[in-house]
């Protein structure tokens, strides 16, 4: 191993002119650049999906019903030539499908692992790159390719199947095949991106940990990414075959899922949820990892119950494979429903353990309130609601009422958005200085976070009530009695949008005129804070040597910090290494 790198510039340094720079980024195998490209692609897709969500909420502003004279009012996005109710509804149906498919396949599944994970995993492990850098670039291009498929389907008019593509509706709707097939193939291709990323991460964690880093010296973010990568590898191929069979079904009508040909539509649901339930944990586990790291660093406190959190990540990953049936309590056999309900409750245990540990971590800490920490606290608040409202959904007798209602919609938005997206926001702010070498405006960030928090709760708390009161999901029109709650929810969606626009502005301002970031602005102990901000091309000048745990705040002074400014507790300091190993400082 030669051990030298040609130059020591930051990875963001431009290589020649515009064309050369674009070519450099397009062909890069640097995990940091790939991570950043993912981040921007995902944020763009988040914007698209978010716009669809805003449109969905606008559409639901009024309880559109066709009036007795055949005309109908209030349907905002009705095509100009639509003459019937069903054409107007069809537009709404394509809209929510668009929102769901984009948000699930193109935003939330890749969000944290592909962007933050790609950027941070080798840095945190003290490695130069992921195990297979070219494969990493390939998965990025597969992601782009799959997204293009899906976007093509949208341009051609969109699909109205819902993101779940339930048969036989998805195989019989929409007389020309191409749109559904394109969307399904897009999801199929995106699955490969997910598989390859997960596989890359597992191998990296196994093979490329820095010397001295045992399994229990890894940051909890790595544990979470590792657990979710296992799910990605084991569950995604099943959606692959499911979607492939769906395409066969659609094109050749092979009939495995089609009751008209002797197949079984509920079998499709099993196939689909065998992937799509575990993937919920692909979405949330990395978010939990981000929160573990942010909470510990921002409260300068050793995390409580490191091993419990690490093992609960693995536990959630394991249990996630045997609870998919709770999406089908209304279509399964009674015995299977009972078994799946019991297993579903199992998943609550490791999740609860994590929440308890996080709260215990704050105890006796020194808690900095800044944007990432605020987002972490918001995560705890929203995720707790999301988790607790899972109880009535997992309970069989109440689920029969709440299933496929707005209660479910609210529940999974609290988990997926209140969990994953909020954690992504926490992570972006936490590692923003590391990624781009610039600080952002803290006040602006905090205001944005608070607006998002308020908007989110207005939007989705109302939907719990809509659900229990009997409002089914995926309805283009509804009874008057739900109008006020729907309108409140729509107003909330605007507040939510405003919050994200504030963040957009803060980020742009940071690029334009942000202060230069120090290597370790928050005082973290993990290895990414050893590197410069932004890191150099091969991450570290010298291969780091790990001598302490990731959260030993009470015995170790964080790298790049002056020990004078950071006294460590007397009781623990005696005889222990007082300075983190930081090769570039020691060298």
């Amino acid at each position: 191993m030669s051990g030298h790198s040609e130059h020591h510039g930051s990875y963001l340094e431009r290589k020649g002119g515009m064309i050369a720079t674009i070519w450099d980024w397009a062909t890069t195998v640097d995990h940091k650049k790939i991570g950043v490209m993912y981040l921007f692609a995902i944020l763009f897709m988040f914007f698209l999906g978010g716009m669809a969500a805003i449109a969905v909420r606008m559409e639901l502003w009024e309880p559109v019903r066709q009036a007795a004279d055949g005309s109908f009012t209030g349907q905002l996005f009705r095509p100009a030539d639509a003459v019937s109710m069903s054409e107007g509804n069809n537009f709404y149906n394509r809209l929510f499908t668009l929102h769901g498919a984009i948000m699930v396949f193109m935003v939330i599944v890749p969000s944290i692992p592909a962007s933050l994970g790609n950027f941070l995993l080798p840095l945190m492990l003290g490695a130069k790159d992921v195990a297979f850098p070219r494969l990493n670039l390939l998965s990025w291009y597969i992601y782009v390719f799959g997204s293009i498929f899906a976007v093509c389907s949208i341009i051609l008019g969109g699909v109205d199947t819902g993101w779940t593509f339930y048969t036989p509706y998805s195989t019989t709707t929409d007389a020309d095949h191409i749109k559904v097939v394109l969307m399904v193939l897009g999801a199929f291709i995106l699955g490969f991106s997910s598989i390859l990323t997960g596989l890359n991460f597992i191998v990296t964690v196994h093979k490329l940990r820095a010397p001295g880093m045992g399994w229990f010296d890894m940051p909890l973010f790595i544990w979470a990414i590792y657990s979710s990568a296992i799910i990605q590898v084991l569950a995604t191929p099943v959606i692959g075959i499911t979607l492939l069979l769906l395409v066969f079904e659609r094109v050749f009508r092979i009939g495995i899922f089609d009751p008209a040909l002797g197949g079984d539509p509920v079998l499709y649901q099993h196939f689909f949820w065998f992937y799509s339930h575990p993937v919920v944990y692909v979405m949330i586990l990395p978010g939990m990892g981000v929160i573990s790291d942010v909470l510990a660093v921002q409260s300068h406190k050793r995390i409580f119950g490191y091993r419990a959190i690490a093992f609960s990540s693995l536990g959630i990953a394991a249990v996630s494979f045997i609870v998919w049936g709770h999406h089908m309590f209304t279509s399964m056999s009674e015995l299977a429903s009972a078994v799946f309900s019991a297993l579903t409750f199992l998943v609550a245990i490791p999740t609860a353990v994590k929440v308890f540990n996080w709260i215990a971590t704050l105890y006796k800490g020194s808690i900095t309130i800044n944007t990432p920490m605020l987002y972490a606290l918001i995560f705890l608040f929203l995720f707790s609601i999301g988790g607790l409202t899972g109880l009535p959904l997992g309970t069989l007798s109440t689920d029969l009422h709440l299933h496929d209602s707005y209660f479910v919609v609210a529940h999974f938005h609290y988990v997926m958005m209140g969990g994953t997206i909020i954690a992504l926001m926490a992570g972006i702010h936490h590692w923003w200085p590391k990624m781009f070498g610039r600080m952002y405006n803290e006040t602006g960030g905090m205001i944005g976070a608070i607006v998002v928090f308020i908007g989110f709760n207005i939007t989705f708390l109302t939907q719990f009530l809509l659900g229990t009161q009997g409002m089914p999901r995926r309805y283009a029109s509804y009874f008057d009695e739900y109008t006020s709650l729907h309108q409140l929810s729509t107003i909330g969606s605007w507040v939510l949008l405003a919050g994200f626009l504030i963040h957009l502005f803060v980020f742009l301002a940071s690029f334009a005129s942000g202060k230069k970031a120090p290597p370790n602005p928050w005082g973290g102990l993990t290895l990414e804070w050893v590197a410069t901000s932004p890191p150099i091309e091969h991450n570290f000048e010298h291969e780091p040597l790990v001598k302490h745990g990731p959260y030993d705040f009470d015995t170790v002074v964080p790298p790049h910090w002056d020990p004078k400014d950071y006294p460590i507790p007397e009781a623990q300091a005696g005889g222990r290494p007082a300075v983190a190993h930081s090769p570039d400082r020691n060298a």
């Binding site: 509920v266 065998f274 089908m328």
Partner: protein, 330 residues
């Protein structure tokens, strides 16, 4: 046994400058020798023969002794042999035995996940009848056919039978079948002559008969309008060739065959070769009348192992042996 990396090192000593300094590279490499590989191949082939043998044996004892083994004997037997074979492939061909154990762990996790998938999916689908038995079975066996254009609202198997019966009733299909039967008769006559020319002529007619009687010609594509004329011309040409070679009896028969194909004397041919019986048999098979008693109610039951295909083959033999050829693929 196959761990002879150090021995291998002196082979490439001169080509690898790091041969001694970087032994670490070869520690994880394992060389599995040809003897082991060949042994495994032979064992695998033997197991393949064994699994086929067991399946055939089971059918044989059913046919000869009327002994019906429970269904799981067949399944468990075949699957355990397949499992053993796959373990051998993974352990030796894929070198899992010598590899980093983490690879084995990955594979075990995968099989575990697959097991969960099958188990819990089955848990639902096989227990639908636990409370109300009518929840278990399909409403229309074979599917409702709703929305399937070709089925017109019928189960797809029923629709296919309907189409076949309609097709059987079509005049040109009927004509082709009569022709084929007549041709078979000519082949039989030619066989009696015993000359080389007759054998040659018989081969020509047989080939045409095979072509025309091919089930796919009847079932799948309509007989093209020019097809019979082309066949007749072909036969006439061959007859002319034979006549030039002065083999008139065979040439006469060829000429007669050509007439059959061209549609002359078809009514006579139909009468003499009991073609209506053939139609009746085929139609009854398409209707499933013959299948009925073989599958009466409980096709699933282990006590019912008679093979529906045997009866069908009988029916097609009336029609012509070539007709049975394409189906079953042998």
């Amino acid at each position: 046994m196959a761990h002879h990396a150090p021995a291998a090192s002196d082979h490439f000593d001169e080509t690898d400058p790091h041969g001694h300094s970087k032994h670490g590279q070869h520690e994880s490499h394992v060389i599995v020798g040809p003897f082991i590989l060949r042994t495994i191949l032979v064992v695998l082939l033997l197991f393949t023969a064994l699994t086929v043998g067991i399946a055939q044996l089971e059918i044989a004892i059913q046919n000869w002794f009327g002994i019906y083994l429970p269904w799981w004997v067949n399944v468990v037997g075949a699957m355990s042999i397949a499992t053993i074979k796959s373990i051998l492939v993974m352990a030796y061909f894929m070198q899992l035995k010598y590899d980093n154990p983490i690879n084995t762990v990955a594979m075990l996790f995968c099989f575990f996940a697959l097991g969960l998938f099958l188990l819990f999916t089955g848990l639902d689908l096989f227990t639908r009848d636990k409370i109300y038995d009518y929840k278990a079975g399909p409403v229309v066996a074979g599917g409702t056919g709703a929305g399937v254009v070709s089925a017109g609202g019928k189960p797809i198997v029923e629709a296919s039978k309907d189409r076949f019966l309609v097709k059987l009733a079509e005049p040109d299909v009927r004509e082709a079948m009569i022709t084929v039967n007549a041709l078979r008769h000519e082949v039989h006559e030619l066989g009696k002559l015993g000359t080389d020319a007759a054998r040659q002529a018989a081969a020509v007619i047989s080939a045409r008969a095979d072509y025309l009687s091919d089930l796919k010609t009847i079932i799948v594509k309509q007989i093209e309008p020019g097809e019979l004329a082309r066949s007749a011309k072909h036969l006439r040409d061959r007859a002319a060739e034979l006549r030039a070679g002065a083999a008139s009896p065979a040439a006469d028969l060829l000429e007669k065959a050509a007439q059959h194909v061209a549609g002359v004397n078809l009514a006579e041919a139909a009468a003499s070769y009991s073609i209506d019986a053939t139609f009746a048999t085929l139609a009854s098979f398409a209707h499933g009348d013959h299948g009925q008693h073989a599958h009466s109610g409980e096709a699933a039951s282990t006590s019912d192992r008679s093979r529906p295909r045997a009866g069908l083959t009988d029916a097609l033999e009336v029609f012509g042996p070539a007709a049975a050829k394409p189906q079953g693929g042998h």
